[in-house]
Subunit: 85 residues, 2 copies
Amino acid sequence: MEWIEYVGYVGVVLSSITFMPQVMHAWKTKSVGDLSIWMVLILIGNVSTWLLYAVVKDVLPMIIANSIILVLSFVMLYFKLTFKK
Amino acid sequence: MEWIEYVGYVGVVLSSITFMPQVMHAWKTKSVGDLSIWMVLILIGNVSTWLLYAVVKDVLPMIIANSIILVLSFVMLYFKLTFKK
């Protein structure tokens, strides 16, 4: 495996965990007023698109990463719609 | 061009614009307390990694998208460090 492929795997791991701190932050504070709902909605569209791409192209790391991000973005949407502030 | 390549281009456009509403929201409200700084920092690492990957692999749409997201994530970091709340 070439070195750049390892860089790709680092990218996959970092992509997968990017929104975990945001979900934990929102869960702890129960406050999401500063989160843009448009960011969350576009993120869901963005990640759904890449998930479709990854499934058709059969790229497993990309399927896993985008599935994780999709779940996290739906959790953020749920928080955004249910927390009062 | 196969249909799935068009899906990829939609993904590139959606990825590029994902954080624009968040930057505008933060700029308008001057409030970023609910944004996780760890999300922003991991996003910077994530996007820098993909930018390196895209440059080495010479994938222009991926270079453009990741450059845009990198600029937006540094703007979010700047807001996070300078706005008081």
